[in-house]
């Protein structure tokens, strides 16, 4: 049983999305702290830089699939090579405004993905995810 609040990362090119999620998470004390990245490449760089210490590695990542530079899918292609260096289980949730069944199916077939969340991300959806993982 983990009785600790998680470290949450948000990877999304939309800064409004950052604001909204942060506001919900902070407002309800759902996270120990929040990391925000505007694209996959920056997030990947951060994870690579901090792979030696568990402290800064997020427990949960909310990953947007549609981003410039490096989108969610590309992030997921690159991630496995990092995974082995990271000593911590990172739960990645794809957060998308796409209702395209192809996208949902594609997400289901990627091992690294723990779940698919349809935007908008609400308090209930966040709580559900965090509770399911056994935090608190």
């Amino acid at each position: 049983m983990i009785s600790k609040r998680p470290l949450i990362a948000i990877i999304d090119d939309d800064d409004i999305q950052h604001y909204l999620l942060t506001r919900i998470i902070d407002g309800h004390n759902l996270a120990e702290s929040i990391l925000t990245f505007l694209d996959g490449e920056k997030a990947l760089q951060f994870l690579a830089d901090n792979s030696s210490t568990n402290e800064n590695i997020p427990d949960i990542i909310f990953l947007d699939n549609n981003m410039p530079i490096m989108d969610g899918w590309q992030f997921l292609e690159e991630y496995p090579s990092l995974e082995c260096k990271i000593k911590k289980k990172v739960h990645i949730f794809m957060a998308s405004s796409s209702v395209n069944p192809e996208d949902i199916e594609r997400a289901r077939n990627i091992n690294q993905i723990s779940g698919y969340i349809e935007k908008p991300i609400t308090l209930d959806k966040l709580k559900g995810v965090i509770d399911d993982l056994g935090f608190f």
């Binding site: 604001y19 909204l20 505007l38 410039p68 989108d71 405004s97 908008p120």
Partner: protein, 398 residues
């Protein structure tokens, strides 16, 4: 040297048959040649046989309906073909000429008929007839084959039209699915943001917080508006299939583009060159060409490398009857492996550049597609990018 002609003898030994008949057809005189032709003796014929006795029944109908009528009406008949029946029952084809002899009052009293054996030429005629029938059959066959060919080619044309329709539908489908994608990413995301912001706004009792939320709402609305306008523009292009094509000089459009981007060009210190000599002009919607050049040039300036002097070159080529516009630069380049599939989508950017909106390439691809052209890109990261745009076939350029 004079010679007296014995007309009786002449008549008798004359090398063609001759006979004389009464109006009812009774033969009253014949010559030797005629008797030889029909193998009768004089005694068996004269005052014994009528003209029609030498004919078959079918021949008799022809005699009555055609030969006699013509003889009565014009006083003579020429080149009528009958089969005379010889004594032994066999037939001999003959050609006859007849002339009516009238008395002083104009009454028909005698008919003189000359008879030519045409057995020899009849065989040729038969061959001719057979050849003619063969030719007719052949031409009927050819006509039939031609009909089949025509109906086949009509079928092919129909199939081709169907194929074109299918291609058009497929293209429309691609546009639709691309629209669905745009709608979900570029419209749904800001709308859901708006809803969330609005919820916070309603929940919040702090005025300062409300004001801050409102600013954010305004920003999202701004984005939403921009996206909608871009979508509307692209829909306009896709509907604008009948846009007028006018003779357009590449140089003219390019110079206009340089003027529009004068400030950016000065800032970037880019070295811009062009060569449109291979295909100096094209029948193309001027507005589209302006939009294409403007987007390509502004992209090249925007994504220039700061490590070197930007070099941008625009030129035209004719490759296998197609006019191609090529824009090449030595800029940042694009990782095509990573981004190739999204290069021309709406709202996709590949550079962390403050001006990146991901609109330009989507727009020009739409314009090029609508006119049946295509756009290709070659790029290497940190080396540069080359856009090749096949605008249209030269053969259409009339």
């Amino acid at each position: 040297m004079s010679h007296t002609i014995d007309y009786k003898e002449l008549c008798s030994i004359f090398p063609s048959g001759y006979f004389c008949s009464q109006p009812d057809g009774t033969i009253i005189d014949v010559n030797q040649k005629f008797l030889e032709l029909i193998s009768y003796t004089r005694e068996e014929v004269v005052y014994k046989k009528k003209f029609t006795d030498l004919l078959s029944k079918g021949g008799e109908i022809y005699f009555e309906t055609v030969y006699s009528s013509i003889l009565k009406l014009s006083g003579k008949v020429e080149e009528i073909n009958f089969d005379f029946i010889k004594k032994n029952g066999t037939k001999i084809p003959v050609l006859i000429n007849s002339v009516e002899v009238k008395d002083i009052e104009g009454h028909h009293v005698l008919t003189y008929t000359s008879v030519f054996n045409i057995s020899q030429r009849k065989r040729y005629e038969q061959e001719l007839l057979i050849a003619k029938r063969k030719a007719k059959n052949l031409s009927d066959d050819l006509m039939q084959a031609n009909k089949v060919l025509i109906s086949n080619s009509e079928l092919i044309i129909k199939q081709k039209l169907q194929l074109e329709l299918n291609n058009h539908l497929e293209h429309k489908n691609r546009q639709l699915s691309s629209f669905a994608h745009i709608a979900s990413h570029n419209l749904r995301a800001p709308v859901s943001n708006l809803i969330s912001l609005n919820d916070f706004y309603n929940e919040s009792s702090d005025l300062e917080d409300k004001a801050m939320l409102f600013t954010k709402i305004e920003i999202v609305i701004g984005h939403l508006n921009e996206t909608l306008n871009e979508l509307i523009d692209s829909v306009k292009i896709q509907e604008d299939i009948n846009i007028t094509h006018e003779p357009t000089l590449f140089k003219t459009v390019f110079n206009k583009t340089l003027e529009i981007l004068e400030v950016q060009l000065l800032d970037s210190k880019a070295l811009v060159t062009s060569n449109f000599s291979e295909a100096p002009k094209i029948e193309y919607p001027k507005l589209y060409l302006e939009s294409i050049m403007l987007n390509l040039l502004s992209n090249s300036i925007r994504y220039r490398s700061l490590d070197r002097i930007p070099k941008i070159h625009f030129y035209t080529e004719i490759n296998s009857n197609e006019i191609t516009l090529i824009a090449t630069d030595n800029g940042l380049g694009i990782n095509l492996k990573k981004h190739g599939h999204r290069l021309f989508g709406l709202g996709n950017t590949f550079h962390r550049h403050p001006d990146s909106k991901g609109v330009g390439l989507y727009m020009i691809k739409t314009q090029i597609d609508v006119l049946g052209g295509c756009i290709a890109v070659e790029s290497e990261v940190d080396k540069g990018t080359t856009f090749k745009i096949i605008l249209k076939k030269v053969s259409d350029d009339k």
